[in-house]
Amino acid sequence: MAATLPSVLVTTDWVAQHATDAGVRVVEVDVDTTAYDQGHVPGAVGWNWTTELCDTVVRDIVPANKLEALLGQSGIDNKTAIVLYGDNNNWFAAWAFWQLKIYGHEDVRIMDGGRKKWLAERRDLSTEKPRVDAKTYKTKAPDTSLRAFLPEVQQAMKAKSAGLVDVRSPQEFTGEILSPPGLPETCQRGGHIPGAKSIPWGKNCNEDGTFKSFEDLQALYSAQGITSDQPVIAYCRIGERSSLTWFALKHLLGFKNVKNYDGSWTEWGNLVGAPVEKP
């Protein structure tokens, strides 16, 4: 297994020095879609995950033509280095990263520590949207090896052929609550997929929002039997927290076969007759 792959992470220092370089585009993607307007990295564009990073008719990831338009109007072409960051230790930055990798963008990075660290360091914020020159973008064929659909998860559960990682909070895992406190409930039953291991997403991160070291991450997952010699499927409620865990496993620990199940608990927990485990 390779050591940490630093090419996918950049520091806040690096962003402060290179945010407006030619060939670099910094993008903020937040859980709270209004956070960008409360001040963002100067030069950064903002993407709204609820309208711009999904199909708003069918439940699905962003369609290729919509992503091409979004990237083009953000001043991004196929050679641009995209640097993502956001609130909540980069939850939705990782969601955007995962989708960009599905569509084959080569140079995507995450600002380690995200918005939390940038703010804590009292770095400059801007409330103005940058003026960008539109570019042309062409997506590649979707890489479905990064994404798990329901039948594959059902099969993995039955055959115990993959490590299932539930990254939600312990209260969601046990079924005590159906969604994070303060957020809408979107499933009918609580609990978890039988056999899944509870490894909350936040354990990937340090207190300052940065990712933990290779050694700490390896210890975290191996202690629960999640190792690189088996396929791994991560899930949460709607697939965004698990995209952060997918990022850590795939790009920081170097696991070859890791998928994000974006149907997640809002799919499984609504299925009639689906097996549910509650401790």
Partner: protein, 73 residues
């Protein structure tokens, strides 16, 4: 502009632990409230003073948290 007077603290609202983050940017105070676990921002407000921004955000957070049900059986 640089963010000023940044504070982060944890409190309990309606039986849930939350993080309250407030900072001033220009003339506006921005307050956001996140659940501690898993850490999602779910209420925010702006104000001309810290007190105004925080009280508005806490009011929203209280309303949203009241809708979260616990299933203990």
């Amino acid at each position: 502009m640089k963010p000023e007077e940044l504070t982060r603290r944890q409190e309990e609202i309606g039986g849930w632990r939350v993080s309250i983050e407030t900072y001033k940017l220009g003339d506006v105070y921005h307050c956001t409230i996140s659940n501690v676990d898993p850490g999602a921002r779910f209420a925010r407000a702006d104000g001309a003073t810290r007190e105004e921004a925080e009280s508005l955000a806490i009011e929203k957070a209280t309303r949203y948290l009241a809708q979260t049900r616990k299933f203990t059986s």
